[in-house]
């Protein structure tokens, strides 16, 4: 029975639905929304009437979602409500509470629809705002704005991005006159004329580049473009254009142009020859200097590598090679050759792997160098010969004087004469020393410091020297003490070692201010150490490196004589024997020179 009742209820519902659809079609004006999605609403209402409660719009499976499309707009909800009431009351009027329930359900439905619409609108607004925001940001970043010139309304509409790009409010430049007023005076006439003629002569497009005044008073470099639209009669009605900010590009272009100009100026005015080569080693540019030096112009060199024709250096031909100041032979266009100093650098920016080749004709330089070398050699030879030649008269002079001061005649010589002879003797020995130094300079300079190595007892040599220098020691007033072992044997050049110790010792006496001088010899395994220490004027640390240089002395030459080559020679001699010299000194603290020597000089036969 229940089944029959159910069946008749569902059958009734189908009939009712058919009736609702029919009325819907009659009452809704076209375009009529499809009513089928709202039919389940009728079922829900019937069920609600049975249950004596209103339709819950939040019920699961509620047809609201689908109904929305059909019942968008409250007017159609009213129509639907009217139809539904009519169909329900066809068989008899609804009880007042039943009617109230239907109305209540529709009210809730209306509310839900309104809420949904509001939500949808809100979401839409948000999406639009986001999209607009993206657009504005993009436009600002891209530096782009759109203007729309309505020729019939004689108005220009700008996109909002004009504010971001140029600072102008969107409605500020609303006429073509104002638009043109913001074009730079130098560009204005051209731009205005171009735009006018494009419009009047029926063209569809216009483009120009010009300066456009920003609101802040600065100028933006822009590219303007426009599309001109025409009506059926062919009259221009609308101009839609864009302005692209190219200020930054312009400034980059300007910098690039300046860079190119600078590079060009440097290249064109360089005294060195410059070639730009592509990856195959073909010249793509040569500067005026290269042209002047070689006699070639670019057209002579096209289509063939530079190597082989102009220069001979294989390394310069390899595009990735970095070459610095290498000598190579260049051949001029007339076939003559010259020696050049060449450098090459790869140009990484060149996709083809090119390089730049710089060269200088060094023929003259080399000739001058050779002349200089020859002059130095001639000078050294002269000094060497002079020094040799001076030895002969010096020998005679020294022997004659010493024969009178030291020989058997000495006793018979008048005291006053003897005093003068002793003075002459000192001068001669000074001169002997100078001549020796002079010859040493040329020898050391020419690298001809040959050693005569033999077995030497350094301690003994030091004692001999101190004995020999008694006169100088007395004159200096310094007490000289020697601390040395009995034997300090090694294989050295005796005369050179004598010279080293003599030099250090006489320096100590000369600059020692009469205070004690100590000479110390120490044997330390395969090395011996010789220290000469004074307590005199000392040497400032800043001078330490200098005093071993040639013709240098730490003090004024007016107060202390000599060529100033003593320590330089000492240094070289010590080095030649494989040793080292070290100085410890400060102003007013005296000086300590320490020579370290291997017990066997290099190359010494054992």
């Amino acid at each position: 029975m229940g089944g029959l009742a159910q069946q008749s209820a569902s059958q009734r519902l189908v009939e009712q639905q058919g009736r609702v659809l029919k009325l819907w079609q009659e009452r809704m004006a076209p375009p009529r929304p499809d009513a089928r999605p709202v039919l389940p609403m009728l079922e829900a209402l019937t069920r609600a009437l049975g249950a004596r409660r209103s339709v819950q719009v939040t019920d699961a499976g509620h047809p609201l979602g689908r109904a929305q499309g059909a019942l968008d707009g409250l007017k159609s909800v009213d129509v639907f409500q009217g139809i539904v009431l009519e169909v329900l009351e066809e068989e008899g009027a609804l009880a007042s509470d039943e009617r109230a329930l239907v109305l209540q359900s529709f009210h809730a439905f209306r509310l839900a629809l309104a809420e949904a619409a509001q939500r949808r609108e809100h979401a839409l607004t948000e999406a639009v705002a986001k999209s607009e925001e993206r657009y504005v940001v993009a436009v600002r970043a891209a530096g782009f704005t759109i203007w729309d010139w309505d020729l019939t309304e004689r108005r220009i509409h700008w996109s909002y991005s004009v504010e971001a790009m140029l600072g102008h409010p969107v409605d500020a430049l609303s006429s073509i006159g104002m638009w043109l007023e913001h074009v730079h005076p130098l560009d204005r006439e051209r731009v205005g004329e171009g735009l006018r003629s494009a419009v009047e002569e029926g063209r569809t497009g216009w483009t120009d580049a010009f300066q456009f005044l920003k609101r802040d008073g600065s100028w933006a470099g822009v590219i303007g473009r426009a599309w001109i639209m025409h009506d059926h009669a062919g009259n221009a009605v609308r101009v839609v254009g864009g302005l692209v900010d190219v200020t930054e590009q312009r400034s980059l272009e300007r910098k690039l142009a300046e860079q190119v100009q600078l590079t060009r100026t440097v290249a064109e005015n360089a005294t060195s020859g410059l070639f730009l080569l592509d990856g195959r080693g073909h010249a793509t540019y040569l500067n005026p200097a290269a042209s002047a030096i070689t006699g070639y112009a670019l057209e002579h060199l096209q289509g063939q590598p530079l190597h082989g024709r102009v220069h001979s250096h294989a390394a310069l031909h390899r595009p990735a090679a970095v070459v610095r100041d290498q000598e190579c032979t260049f051949t001029r266009r007339d076939g003559t050759q010259f020696v050049a100093s060449c450098s090459a650098m790869p140009l990484a920016e060149y996709d083809l792997g090119g390089s730049v080749l710089e060269f200088r004709d060094v023929t003259e330089l080399k000739r001058a160098e050779l002349q200089l070398r020859e002059a130095v050699q001639a000078r050294d030879e002269f000094i060497s010969i002079a020094s040799h030649e001076l030895r002969t008269p010096l020998t005679a002079l020294q022997l004659q004087i010493q024969g009178m001061t030291r020989g058997p005649l000495a006793g018979g010589v008048d005291e006053r004469v003897k005093k003068r002879l002793l003075g002459a003797e000192r001068s001669v020995s000074r001169m002997v020393q100078l001549v020796n130094e002079l010859l040493d300079v040329t020898r050391v300079e020419a690298g001809r410091l040959e050693l005569e190595v033999e077995e030497v007892n350094l301690s003994e040599l030091v004692r001999e020297l101190v004995d020999r220098l008694q006169t100088e020691i007395r004159q200096a007033g310094s007490a000289v003490t020697v601390e040395a072992p009995e034997r300090a044997m090694g294989r050295w050049d005796r005369r050179r070692l004598d010279q080293v110790i003599g030099n250090l010792l006489t320096n100590a006496l000369k600059y020692g201010e009469g205070k004690p001088v100590r000479v110390r010899v120490e044997v330390d395994g395969e090395q011996v150490r010789l220290q000469v220490r004074d307590q005199g004027i000392g040497i400032a640390p800043s001078q330490h490196a200098r005093i071993f240089a040639r013709f240098e002395r730490a003090v004024s030459s007016r107060h202390y004589g000599g060529f100033g080559v003593g320590l330089w020679i000492v240094h070289r001699v010590v080095e030649a024997m494989g040793g080292a010299i070290r100085l410890e000194s400060a102003v007013g603290q005296g000086s300590t020179f320490e020579v370290t020597l291997p017990v066997s000089a290099p190359g010494a036969p054992r």
Partner: protein
Amino acid sequence: MSATGPVLIVDDDEDIREALGEVLADLGYAVVKARNGREALSLVRGLPQPPQLILLDLMMPVMNGWQFLEAHGTDHEVASIPVVVMTAARQSAVDAPAVKAVLRKPIAYDDLVGVVRAHVR
């Protein structure tokens, strides 16, 4: 070796010959002088007593010191006479058995006297 033979000085420079001669004469030595190697050779051969010592310069015209030493070595009469070489060059390769010492110019009095005393009685 004769006790009375002279010292032979061979040098092309007159001042040197003179200075050496006077210094040695002061000390009581007999001295003979030659201007080059050739003069020295003929002088040695003509002397009644051979020299006790030869002071030999190396760089001389006509016959230099090296040539003299060569001739000196082959001449049996004089090969035994000791030679002291006098040179201005620091390194002079002198490799003859007769060479007993090298005096480097400028020669100091004490060195000269020392060498002569060592070889002449």
